[in-house]
């Protein structure tokens, strides 16, 4: 049964290695190669810790699944799942070594078993699988090691229990992808609460874990139609909290990547809910300080939306202009890049609607003293499609751009920028020589007019202030300060 018309496309980028590589023994064991070991030692590790510490853990070894007759296998499979619910303290590297190794090999066995076996997935197995996965992966993430973890600068803190955790994720993905897997049974156990806890884990500092989570969530979104709206809403909440409350969430890029494939599958016409998501969530995501960490994924989502529904172009571009970076030049360069991606797919009718505010901003960027910003904006003139749009509308765009270009050609400190500006001016001259000559002729008088206006403004304010002063003196105590 299809609840609504949306489908869920495969993840845009090459899916995580998680889904494709098999966890061979030496991959899991971090001590096989010297180079690996060295790299690992430098990184800090942490893990959320457990209340029941101290007592050594004892698990009774069970026979291998392949060593028992087929009819007994499902029963043994359940027992092994139950054993794997036991969670070990990996911050203590010396405790329970034997049992840790036993659980690791059991998990390895389970991974192989769900991949190759048939007929193991009895109805009783579903709750046990979900229970085992929940016991292992759901935990309160530990506090970040450094007070102000900066994902761009600092090495991430890795999850200490990864040797087990990775196998649990691996197992879960294979379970979800197994041919025998039936969502109609699983939905009793993989429910809203499960998904909510899964989403919280995306804040993990460990990139390996987020990679697995991405695959898991994508599979769940694909297979459980009843959870789709809920998943989207919860991602909304995570993003809103990230933008307006904490500015901290490690998994934004991964969630956006999943959303990219979700948006790809949206049915037309777009629902109001989806448009709201674009305008009220995706656009404000541009304001976050750490934009560079997820900008590529974000821009991809935005362009996906516009390819679906070109009438969204105007609100999107107005949104970007509203949140245009004021002080951060790196972010400005990113905005310009995204804008070019949008312009690449823009329809000429949409372009006309936003050209004025858009080129006022571009004109400001072109005259930025930061040469990378100016350069990035001037590169638009190398884009054939954008050039054709500018040419069609040169009578509107040229007057907006002219003053800045003219001034930079005389004043900019960076010779490369000046050279680029000359090219642009030349292009404009060829496009519309009459208007170009007119603007050149009136450049001086236009500037004088502007100066005069500026002076008038100042005078107005001076008069107002005098008035305030006069009244402030005469009616002392009446005017609130």
């Amino acid at each position: 049964m299809v609840v609504h018309g949306d489908s869920c496309a495969p993840l845009h980028r090459a899916m995580s290695s998680a889904a494709t590589t098999s966890p061979s023994v030496d991959k899991v064991d971090g001590f096989s190669r010297k180079s690996v070991r060295k790299a690992k030692q430098k990184r800090s590790q942490s893990s959320s810790q457990f209340r029941s510490q101290g007592k050594p853990i004892e698990l009774t070894p069970l026979p291998l699944l392949k060593d028992v007759p087929a009819p007994e296998q499902p029963e043994l499979f359940l027992k092994k799942l139950q054993q794997c619910c036991t969670v070990f303290d990996f911050m203590d590297t010396l405790s329970d070594l034997k049992m840790k190794e036993y659980k690791r090999s059991t998990l390895n066995e389970l991974v192989d078993y769900v991949t190759v076996s048939r007929g193991y997935l009895t109805e009783q197995a579903y709750p046990e699988v979900v229970k085992m996965v929940s016991h292992n992966i759901f935990r309160t993430l530990p506090p970040s090691d450094s007070n102000e973890f900066d994902p761009e600068e600092d090495e991430p803190t890795l999850e200490a229990s990864w040797p087990h955790l990775q196998l649990v994720y691996e197992f879960f993905i294979r379970f979800l992808e197994s041919q025998e897997f039936q969502p109609s049974i699983a939905k009793k156990y993989i429910d809203q609460k499960f998904v909510l806890q899964l989403l919280e884990l995306f804040d993990s500092e460990d990139p390996r874990e987020r990679d697995y989570l991405k695959t898991v969530l994508h599979r769940i979104y694909g297979k459980f139609l009843g959870l789709r709206a809920f998943i989207r809403k919860q991602i909304n909440n995570i993003f809103l909290r990230f933008v307006y409350e904490t500015e901290h969430f490690n998994g934004v890029a991964e969630l956006l990547e999943i959303l990219g494939s979700i948006i790809n599958g949206f049915a037309l016409p777009l629902k109001a809910e989806h448009k709201q998501f674009l305008v009220k969530v995706l656009i404000p995501l541009h304001t976050v300080r750490s934009l560079s960490l997820f900008h590529a994924q974000l821009a991809y989502c935005i362009v996906q939306f516009l390819e679906k529904d070109p009438t969204l172009t105007e609100p999107v571009i107005r949104g970007l202009l509203k949140f245009w970076p004021k002080t951060c030049s790196q972010k400005e360069v990113m905005f310009l890049g995204e804008l070019e991606e949008i312009l690449d797919v823009i329809e000429p009718t949409q372009f006309v609607k936003i050209q004025e505010p858009l080129f006022k901003q571009i004109s400001r960027c072109v005259s930025s003293p930061h040469f990378q910003v100016a350069e990035r904006a001037l590169y638009y003139w190398n884009n054939e499609y954008i050039m054709s749009l500018i040419e069609e509308n040169s009578s509107v765009i040229l007057p907006i751009m002219f003053a800045s270009l003219y001034r930079i050609s005389k004043e900019h400190w960076n010779p490369a920028i000046v050279a680029l500006v000359y090219n642009v001016l030349k292009a404009f001259m060829e496009m519309n020589s009459t208007l170009f000559d007119e603007l050149t002729a009136t450049y001086k008088s236009d500037r004088q007019r502007e100066k005069k206006k500026e002076k008038e403004r100042e005078e107005l304010w001076k008069k107002l202030e005098d008035l305030e002063l006069k009244r402030g003196l005469r009616s002392d105590g009446i005017i609130p300060t």
Binding site: S48, Q53, Y244, L460, L464, I478
Partner: protein, 599 residues
Amino acid sequence: VADCCNPVSKMAGADGDDSLYPIAVLIDELRNEDVQLRLNSIKKLSTIALALGVERTRTELLPFLTDTIYDEDEVLLALAEQLGNFTMLVGGPEYVHCLLPPLESLATVEETVVRDKAVESLRKISQEHSPVDLEVHFEPLVKRLASGDWFTSRTSACGLFSVCYPRVSSTVKAEIRQHFRTLCSDDTPMVRRAAASKLGEFAKVLELDYVKSDIISLFTALASDEQDSVRLLAVEACVSIATLLPQEDLETLVMPTLRQAAEDKSWRVRYMVADKFSELQKAVGPEITKNDLVPAFQNLLKDCEAEVRAAAANKVKEFCENLPEDNREQIIMTHILPCVKELVSDTNQHVKSALASVIMGLSTILGKDNTIEHLLPLFLAQLKDECPEVRLNIISNLDCVNEVIGIRQLSQSLLPAIVELAEDAKWRVRLAIIEYMPLLAGQLGVEFFDEKLNTLCMAWLIDHVYAIREAATCNLMKLVEKFGAEWAQNTIVPKVLGMANDPNYLHRMTTLFCINALSEACGQEITTKQMLPVVLKMSNDQVANVRFNVAKSLQKIGPVLDSNALQTEVKPVLEKLATDTDMDVKYFAQEAISVLALA
């Protein structure tokens, strides 16, 4: 009628200014393409309103502002703030409700700072509403916000319930309670967080019966929310709620939830409990503290997450101080001290340094004998800690111990700790220990200081980091203030003046900086007889930086000198420097001449 009573508008009429400032011009200003200019205009909104007079502000300016609220958040923030101070500009409390429409729109904006400011302004002007206006205008606005579609308006509503509740009729009160209840179980966690953070404030204005019937159930629900960011806010509310309830109700209404929070699976919630522990302790009273909070506190001090242990360690002193006096000592000795002992050798340095910042305070509570027997070994262990911050925290609180057992008990261990910190590779650590020197000198006395610490203080003067040399200079001044001019003359001044011949010009300049700092504390005699000759001699230094610092020093010590020395010795030297080849030297020499009035 209102206009006649208002001198502001009367004057606008009398001066005929209204026509001078047509609203169109002002609105043009508020619409200017340049954000900065728009921002400037908004910040002077009161000036605009003043020019317009109260009536036109109400009928023209406010509608314009309400309609055009799509702008940069920075502009909106300024607007939200301005409107909170606008009551007189619209004609006083009678018309204050005119400000509600623009503020209502601002309270629905996405950007948190804008919304918060709008709510702040709304709270402010709510007080200026008459009870009738509050019901007719303000309360409907709160209701609209509370049932808005997008989470932002509902979030804003949470902050407005408590300001109107006390002044409305009981029917409206019931409605407000209902709205608050709804928001506490809102679908979006953002709204639940806002509601949880206002729960305590709202409880305070409710009648006790409703606190028991309504608030407690909301509190319990929020404290077991699925999101830890909501649960931890309930802990804060717990303090206010517990304060409101009579003692006999606490056990059944509050304690189950508090116990649960102290053992929450999320460390953030446990951290919050630890962080609010002193407040909680006061709110629940001595009996519950003894039975419940003591074991809870022990658990927090032993928590598996360092973050939580550090927060709890910070509260050790306050918690012990506020224990009921009758068996305070017994509780501390048997329950708290064993945990504290473990924390001294914690694996995490933040935990140790949090403890070190309060542990000395325990000595006043436990008295001399217990301090010597039980605490002293801990202090000594922390003084030897590998982390400099721990040692510094101990040293910075020495005064507490001094009062109880005298500092001599510690001085043996103190000295190596101080010396090590004084030579720490991190200059910030060195800086921190310098700042405690005057305190230490006061506690240890002059003999101990001369014998052990004086060399250190002098060594800092030639540190390779300027900030250290500067702090060392300032330190000398404080020491002289403490020990007197005679001590300075015997111990410090000769060494400082000796540096005037150092081959390194930075050290020679340090002499000048020291003289600047010390002259006042040392007095006229020492300054004129011992310091001045050295300064004057340095006016021939080959490094220009030294020479212009001579000029600066002379300007500084001039007022301390007698007028004879000024005229006969200082004046010729400054005059010579004023003709120096270096322009900076000239500049400072001339400045000194004019300040000292020697021209």
